[in-house]
Amino acid sequence: MDNRQQILAELEAISPFMADLAPVNPYKVPAGYFIALPAAVMEKIALELAIEGGSVNLYQVPDGYFEGLAGDILSKIQTTQIPVNEVSEELAEIAPFLNTISKQQVYTAPVGYFSKTDFVAAVGNEKKETKIVTLKFARKWMQYAAAAVMAGILVTGAFLFTDINKTVYEKYDQVDVPAELNKVSEAELVTYLDNPEHSVVINAGPSIPSGRQALTEIKNTIQLVSDEELDQYLKENSDPADIIPPVKSN
């Protein structure tokens, strides 16, 4: 007995009424449904797999979009950055030609210098290794000698200009100018002023000798001063440590 006969016999035993009914399927499907179903299922599986794999992309981009994207971004960055550059704007006003020259770095650093160099550690080592260098005696002596000569020149110059001229100025200070002028007649004053040699240059400052002229004058003045006077001056105005032995004249 096959399966169909078994089922009918079973149903006859349970319900003879049901056994007499033909197992008719009243439902219908759309025309061509089973023809199209395999393709529809395969399409859905493909979509499902794409979604699961994360490779599905419903959007599209123009052809070659990604090839030129990096260049487009860089050019956009450059065009937007140049006007903002304060230095370039300033240079455009000062020297526009310099703006046309590339600022590309012409120097090069050793390969891996910035990545390998530990600047913090280097600074630490530098601090540890710092040495105190003492000046040698001869070098120190020369410095002291040079300082003393310069000090001597300056002090002597000051001495001469103050002490020598002091007597002249003191003589003028003692003169009663208004009283002396009262003694001079108006005719004498007019005659004096008319003389071009006595004309007064208004707003003209005192004539200041140039550095070289001053130095020449100081040298000439020093020659007039004896060694004893210079030695005396240095003893009175200099620090004891700076005193150098007097130079013996031949």
Binding site: I7, S15, M18, N25, Y27, V29, L37, V41, M42, E48
Partner: protein, 181 residues
């Protein structure tokens, strides 16, 4: 396992013939599975959705399918579970009671464009929808698909004795319904 099913499974496991073999499996079992699902969910669009999900699950699981059982019982098992899951989701969405759900399925039958209240086969469908889900499944697999209890036992994971009892109860209830309506 049928020799042609074995061959289809072998081809499915080859990359070059995978899709071709799966299309052949769909073509072979689509109608049986469709009607099984359709009798459970009634509406064609719902049956179509469920059936496509069935085949997607088959695609994913077929690689690991053990050949010690029949392919078609495995397919029926998936289709049954998908149908029951679909009905469960429908219940949750509509938040209606079991009785309301049954009447909802009856209304779907009556809404079918080919429905004819005077024809006995339509009355039989209305009678089947009055059954509890498990009895409905058993009756459908036995009465329409004419499956042996042994295979039904594998599909529904129920003993053959329990299945025979369910079928008996289902047939009696349907008879009573048809005689009274």
């Amino acid at each position: 396992m049928h020799s042609d099913d074995k061959e289809l499974l072998f081809q499915f496991r080859q990359v070059a013939t995978k899709e071709q073999a799966f299309t052949a499996i769909i073509k072979k079992y689509q109608e049986k599975l469709y009607w099984h699902v359709r009798r459970m969910v009634v509406d064609h669009d719902d049956a179509n959705d469920v059936l496509q999900n069935v085949f997607i699950k088959v695609w994913k699981g077929l690689e690991n399918f053990r050949e010690d059982s029949q392919l078609y019982t495995w397919l029926y098992r998936i289709a049954t579970n998908e149908s029951l899951s679909f009905l469960e989701q429908q219940k949750k969405r509509s938040t209606v009671s079991f009785n309301d759900m049954e009447s909802g399925l009856s209304n779907k039958i009556k809404a079918d464009t080919n429905f004819d209240a005077n024809r006995l086969e339509w009355k039989l469908q209305l009678a089947i929808q009055q059954l509890p889900e498990k009895q409905r499944l058993v009756f459908s697999l036995r009465y329409y698909d004419e499956l042996p209890y042994q295979d039904m036992s594998r599909i529904l994971d129920t003993s053959e004795g329990a299945l025979k009892a369910s079928y008996h109860h289902a047939a009696k209830k349907i008879e009573e319904f048809l005689k009274n309506n």
